[in-house]
């Protein structure tokens, strides 16, 4: 695919809209073309006529703020309509990624509260003071390419996950892709990957969690960590759908790899032992073991503190509040007491312990005040 082309619908002033357009276009990763919203009927007609010539759509959350325009709907309404239009084969409209953007305050006031509309969008980004355009553009390009690849022909589960030994994955994850009677829509596949697989630790983990499981302090290890990734861990990097936008690692293969090089089980060793074994077996110098966070004792790390983004033993973590219930094959996210209750990192952005942790937090506070 050439540079993916996104249609961007926004009702804001020319300056504000151009800032977004230029932010994206300057990256040369995606190309963005701006249009003003039209009334619902016309907008629908317009999408049917031309959306197939685009690779994706960006919608501003509020489309009804410009009094010069005859628009009385917002992004979720037209996104819902669009998803329905794609399902009707008579329309001959390909599924494409739908991206939501807004300012922080608007998104928080309405979108974050109305959870029913969350499933409509593949990705959301904030038009904050200094948006990370290259990061957003990479995600959007990956989504566009992934959608196009899925639209081409029916893809097998092995192709989608880019893994031959698919039976090593919990069948409750893969069976939706093999059920002939209930074929997945392209959008369903995309949604499942991004919301269920990429955003929760489980069969796939982020780099920080990968490092935590190996007991490694990423910053202190510097080049040695890069060497370990490039020469050894690269074999266990997820290379399936959307992997050019979301970097993830196969959790089971990392465990197997460690067992193969050491004969030992990763989860039962502390960070120093894990790092010593890796350094010796792989002949890498400079790997540094991560230390326990403040008010924590264990270095048998398996996850990260979502506040500090540093290794944490789940036993010493507090479960993070998440707005959706976890699936039985997903792992919870954790935050350390220090990050949640002392430094209150990102509390204003909704990062907080699960309400069920209230009693534990109280007990920790009492033990610390003694």
């Amino acid at each position: 695919m050439k540079t993916p082309k996104y249609l961007y619908i926004d009702d804001e002033t020319v300056d504000a809209v151009e800032a977004v357009r230029d932010g994206f276009n300057d990256t040369e990763i995606i190309e963005v073309i701006v249009e003003e919203p039209q009334n619902f009927k016309e907008q629908k007609k317009d999408f049917l006529a031309k959306l197939n010539s685009y690779d994706g759509l960006i919608l501003d959350f509020r489309l009804d703020q410009n009094m010069q325009l005859d628009v009385s709907y917002n992004a979720p309404a037209i996104a819902q309509e669009l998803r329905t239009l794609v399902l009707d084969s008579e329309n001959d409209l390909k599924g494409c990624p739908i991206i939501l953007c807004s300012t922080d305050e608007r998104m928080r006031a309405t979108y974050d509260v109305d959870k029913t509309s969350h499933d409509l969008f593949d990705y959301k980004f904030l038009k904050g003071p200094e948006p990370n355009w290259p990061k957003f553009a990479t995600k959007l390009a990956s989504l566009a390419k992934g959608y196009a690849w899925l639209n081409e022909v029916d893809r097998s589960v092995e192709e989608i996950f880019k893994r031959e030994d698919i039976n090593k994955i919990d069948i409750r994850i893969t069976e939706r892709f093999t059920d002939e009677d209930q074929k997945q829509q392209v959008y369903d596949i995309a949604h499942f990957f991004i919301k269920e697989l990429f955003h929760h630790p489980g069969i796939l983990v982020k780099e920080r969690v990968l490092a935590a499981r190996l007991g490694i302090d990423v910053e202190a290890s510097g080049e040695a960590w890069i060497e370990l990734k490039a020469n050894f861990l690269i074999n266990f990097k997820f290379s399936g759908l959307f992997s050019d936008g979301w970097e993830r690692w196969w959790a089971d293969q990392i465990v197997d790899f460690f067992k193969k090089v050491s004969g030992k089980r990763l989860s039962t060793l502390n960070a120093i032992n894990r790092v010593n074994i890796l350094s010796e077996a792989l002949k890498i110098k400079g790997l540094k073991a991560a230390e326990a966070l403040p008010n924590c004792e264990s270095t048998e790390f398996w996850t990260i503190c979502e506040g500090f983004k540093k290794p944490l033993d789940p036993l010493e973590g507090l479960r993070v509040y998440e707005s959706v219930d976890l699936k039985p094959w997903q792992e919870p996210k954790y935050i350390s007491f220090e990050a949640a209750e002392v430094e209150r990192i990102n509390r204003d952005k909704g990062l907080r312990p699960h309400p069920s942790e209230k009693d534990r937090i109280q007990l920790i506070k009492e033990s610390l005040s003694k």
């Binding site: 069948i171 089980r265 060793l269 004792e297």
Partner: protein, 249 residues
Amino acid sequence: MKIEQFRQARADDLKAAASVLEKVFKTGINTSPISLAAENVKTSCPSLMDGSNNPDHWGYTIEDLKIPVDTTKHLRPKGIDKNKVELTLDMKLIANFKQWEDLSDPFIELSFNVAVRGISASGLHYFCFHIDKHDMSKKSEEPHPVYHLQYSSNPQSDGEFDYGSTFHLDTPRILHHPVDFILGIGFLTSNFFPMAYDEIMDQSFFPGLYKRYQEKIVKPYFHTLASNWDYDKSKVVWSPVSDLCPLLL
């Protein structure tokens, strides 16, 4: 019954057990290791330790299954935070399906390893035990009950392990009946999460499943032991049996 049907039935039982655990522990448990074992039992013929295969063999491996712990009494050392205790199960069993219906030894190989971890201000503490089938081809100085429970505190047999002020030597191999995963759920929750055990046994179909596995695994064991003496059921006066073994259904 054909082996395929048999394998499917064992897989269904494991899945049923996983869904009971999900219902009782909610999001406190990731049941993927059980789900993988269910696929495993259905599709693969396990190799024995000596590398041999037999199409009549079935089995599964469950690795790193973490189960919450709620036994807050008698935690030692005293500084252990009762909220920071976690149990990990690693198990493997291999059996011959032709020996499932009679009073044969139900398993060819069994290892059922449990590690409980706790954290205090001075660091990590471990409590481990296993229920194993002893490899009778291996010589040993002590008499080995073929199925035994043995306790240890050093999960990795680490030479540098800090034993604190406890004294450790090979603890007795205590006679124990074999356990598979289904029976293991009862054993582990009744000891480490009694409220969950009660709730699991209140789930409509689980006690029936549990009872069937006791018949296939526990019954051959105790019948064989009892056969050491002349046995006449009408002369048995010690009752109720549930006092001797509360988990027997």
